[in-house]
Symmetry: C2
C-alpha cells in the first residue's frame, strides 16, 4: 500500500487532533483511500510545549526539517496567524508539497500569493477546516453546488460570538458577563477581538464568496461590525418582537458586484438561522436551481476542525493515488478569478430596527416619522416602552422600518438624534427575513 506522509506545522489543539484522528481511524481511512496516511513530523515553537511526546511523530523546531524532507508529501499548516504561516505554506509548495490549512486569516490576507504558489508548483492547496469547522461547506460549494449560481449566503460562522449572544438571550446577562463565561469555558480566547469584532467571521465569509463566485475582492472593503456594543435592552426588545440578535456573515451577488458584510442582525423565528444557538454554526444559502439549503454543525474545536482537515488530506491522498494531486481542481473551484467590486454598506437595502432613547414627551412619534418619511423611509411597526427600563426618566422608542437604503437610514438618524427629546445616541440593527 502506497504511504503518504504528513508534516504538521503546529502541534496545538487542531494539530494534535489531526494526529489523533489519523491514528485512531487509520484503517478506515486506508479502506477509503487505498493509501497508508501517517503524520511523521510536527513543527513546534518550543520542544518543551509538547507534554506527551507522540510515539510515531518526530517533533522539531526547524521548519526546514519538514520542507526539505523528501518523504513528506503533504504539509498541514495549523499555526494560525498571518506570518510565518504564509511564508511557510509557500516554502512548502515551492518544494512540491501539497498544503492543507485551517487558517482563514492567512487565506483572507494572502490568497493571491497562496493561489499563485499552488498553481506555479502544481500542488493542491485545500482549506475545508478554515470555515465553519466540521461543516463541509467549502467542498459543498466547490464540488456539489457547481450547477448553481449561488444567490446568497448567510452564516452563523463564529461560535464564540454565537455563544455570547445565546447566553445574553437565555440568561439576560450583559455582553461582558457572557464573554467572561465563554472565556472560562475555553470558547473565547484571552484576547477575543477577532471573534467578537466580527473579523474572524469576515475572513470566513470572504472565503465562501471566493468559492461561490470566483471573485477577487478587497478584504478591507468588507463592512465588519462586532457584537461588543449589543446591549441587553436590544436583546430583550428583540425577544418581544419574536426575534433574536445573531452575528450574521452575509454575501450576495448583485449584478456582478458582491454585497458582503458581517454585522449583528435581527432574525425572526421563521428564519432558518433563528434556532442555531450556542457554539453551533450554520450556513444557509440559496442557489438558482438548488433552492434553499442549510448546513449545520460544530464550527470549531479540536476534532470537528480536525475532521475537516483530515478530509482534505484524504482528498489529496486519493488524487495522489492517480498521480493528479494539484491538477484536478483549482483551490477555489474556478480556473480564473475575476475582480469584483464590494457594494458599499450604505447602498444596501434592508429592514432596520432603530432604538431611540427619548424623553417621554408629546410629539416623539410625529417628529421621528416626519424625518424618516422625508428620507423615503416607511415604518413597519413602532414600540414605545413605559418608564422604568432606563435609569433616568428616558424611555426606549423602537421602530422597525420597511426595506430602506442604509445611507438614508444614517442620514435620518443623524437628523433625529439632534432633536431635543433624544437623550442618547440611537442604536441601529439590520433585520433579515
Amino acid at each position: 500500500m502506497k504511504q503518504v506522509n504528513v508534516g504538521l506545522l503546529g502541534y496545538g489543539v487542531v494539530g494534535k487532533g489531526i494526529a489523533d484522528i489519523l491514528e485512531a481511524n487509520h484503517q478506515l481511512i486506508a479502506q477509503r483511500t487505498g493509501v497508508d496516511i501517517r503524520v511523521t513530523k510536527a513543527l513546534v515553537k518550543d520542544l518543551d510545549e509538547v507534554q506527551e511526546k507522540p510515539p510515531h511523530i518526530e517533533i522539531t523546531v526547524d521548519p526546514y526539517a519538514i520542507f526539505d524532507d523528501s518523504s513528506i508529501d503533504i504539509v498541514v499548516e495549523v499555526m494560525g496567524g498571518y506570518e510565518p504561516a504564509r511564508t511557510f505554506s509557500i516554502e512548502a509548495m515551492k518544494r512540491g508539497k501539497h498544503v492543507v490549512t485551517a487558517n482563514k486569516a492567512c487565506i483572507a490576507a494572502h490568497y493571491c500569493d497562496l493561489l499563485a504558489a499552488a498553481q506555479e508548483n502544481g500542488v493542491s492547496y485545500l482549506f475545508e477546516g478554515s470555515v465553519a469547522g466540521g461543516i463541509p461547506i467549502v467542498r459543498a460549494i466547490r464540488d456539489s453546488l457547481t450547477a448553481n449560481n449561488v444567490r446568497s449566503i448567510s452564516g452563523i460562522i463564529n461560535g464564540t460570538a454565537n455563544y455570547i449572544l445565546s447566553k445574553m438571550t437565555d440568561e439576560k446577562i450583559s455582553f461582558y458577563e457572557a464573554l467572561a463565561q465563554a472565556q472560562k469555558l475555553g470558547y473565547a480566547e484571552v484576547d477575543p477581538t477577532f471573534d467578537i469584532e466580527g473579523i474572524d467571521a469576515s475572513h470566513k465569509i470572504f472565503i465562501l464568496a471566493l468559492l461561490s463566485w470566483g471573485v477577487e475582492l478587497d478584504f478591507n472593503a468588507i463592512y465588519t461590525e462586532g457584537i461588543s456594543n449589543i446591549s441587553p435592552i436590544d436583546i430583550e426588545l428583540a425577544r418581544e418582537l419574536n426575534n433574536k440578535i445573531k452575528l450574521l456573515a452575509i454575501a450576495k451577488e448583485c449584478d456582478g458586484d458582491i454585497d458582503i458584510r458581517v454585522h449583528p442582525t435581527m432574525v425572526g423565528e421563521d428564519h432558518p438561522l433563528y434556532s442555531v444557538d450556542g457554539v453551533f454554526n450554520a450556513v444557509y444559502l440559496e442557489g438558482d436551481y438548488l433552492g434553499p439549503a442549510m448546513f449545520y454543525g460544530q464550527g470549531a474545536g479540536r476534532y470537528p476542525t480536525g475532521s475537516a482537515v483530515v478530509s482534505d488530506i484524504i482528498e489529496i491522498a486519493r488524487d495522489m493515488a492517480c498521480d493528479i494531486a494539484g491538477k484536478r481542481i483549482q483551490p477555489f473551484g474556478y480556473h480564473t478569478l475575476r475582480k469584483a467590486r464590494i457594494v458599499s454598506i450604505e447602498e444596501i437595502h434592508s429592514a432596520f430596527y432603530i432604538r431611540f432613547t427619548v424623553k417621554d414627551t408629546v410629539g416623539v412619534l410625529r417628529d421621528i416619522s416626519r424625518i424618516l418619511s422625508e428620507h423615503g423611509i416607511s415604518i413597519a411597526s413602532a414600540i414605545q416602552k413605559e418608564r422604568g427600563i432606563q435609569a433616568d426618566d428616558s424611555v426606549p422608542f423602537v421602530i422597525i422600518t420597511h426595506e430602506a437604503r442604509g445611507y438614508d437610514i444614517l442620514l435620518s438618524i443623524r437628523e433625529i438624534e439632534r432633536l431635543d427629546f433624544c437623550t442618547e445616541p440611537p442604536v441601529m440593527i439590520r433585520v433579515e427575513d
Copy 2:
C-alpha cells in the same frame, strides 16, 4: 475548450431540468470545469411525448443511438424504475461511458451489478441526485466525512410522506385527506405506494449506509413501515407531548452490524428534525470526530434533483480533463465492500409510545404496568384521556416507555391486547431522542 457530450436516458421532469440547467448555466459551468458540457441526445419512449422539441438536442426512441454514439461521454439515467434502467446503465458502461443517475430504486436493487460494471469498464458511476434531491449528502459522506466513523444517520428523506404528516399535524386532517391534497399539488403520485409505505426512504437510507460503512446489505431485510396507518389521534396525542410524528429513515453501526430501518417516529421539539416540515428533507448524522451535523434542503423536484445530477456531470468532466474519470474514486467511496448483517427490528432498543384503547374501568394502569414490568419494561409517563375522543365509550390510554427491546414490547402488547378492557388493537410508535 474540450467538449463533453451528455446523452439523457429519459426526458421527463428531471431530464428536462438537467438540460435546462446545463444550457442556462453553460458559461458558469465552463468557468468551473474548463470544459464545454452539452446534452446532445435524449431517449424518450415515444416521440410524441416531447411537447417542445429542444433546439440542440436530438430526441430518439432508440437507446443504441446513444450507447453506440462515440461522441457521447456521459450517459444520464433518469428513467426511473428497475428495468430497463439497470440494463441500459450497464450497456452504456460496457461502451466506456460514464453513468450518472438519480434512480435510487435501481441502485438499491442492483448495486452489485452496477458497481461491477463500473469497475470492469473503468468508468464513473455517480448518484448524488438519488438521495435527498438537491442536498449534497452523497458527496458529503463520500468526500467530506471521510475522517469519521459515522455513528448514526437519521433522515427525513421522503418529501411526500413529510408533506402528508405535516398537513395532518397542521390541519388536523386524516391521512387520506392529506394524501389527496398532496396528489392535487403534484407532491404525490397517482400510485403513491413507494412514498407512503416507506419504500422510497428505504432505498435512500440503504444508499447512505453503503456510503457510510462500505457494506453489502440485503435490501429486503430492512424493516420498512409507512405512514398510511397513522391516525389523527396519535398526531394529536404527540402534539400534547410536544412531539411530532415523522417518517424517519435510520441507520446506525452496531459493532459491525447495521441497524437500518424506516418507520414513523415520534421526535421531541429538541430533536433537530422536529422542525423539518412540508416537502423539505434533512439528514442528521453523527461522526466520531465531526460530532453532530445536519444537512437541509429540497429533497425532490426538477431543479433541486437536476442540480445534484449536474454536479455529478461536472465531477466527471473535471476528472475527464485529467484523464482519470472512473479511476479516482469508487462509487461508494470504499475500495472493497464488506458483507454486514442487518440487526433485526425486534432486537433494537428504543423508547416507545403505545396507545391502548380501553374501556374506562378500574385497574387498567395496574394490569398494563404489571405486564410491562414482567417483560422488564419501565414506564416513563402515562396519559389517560377522558371519554368523548372515541366514538364508543372507550378511551385512549397512552404510555411512553423508557428504552426497551422491540421484542419485549411486542410480547407485552400481545399479552395486554388479550385483556378484557382492550377494545381495539394497540398502536405502537417508536420514539427518538
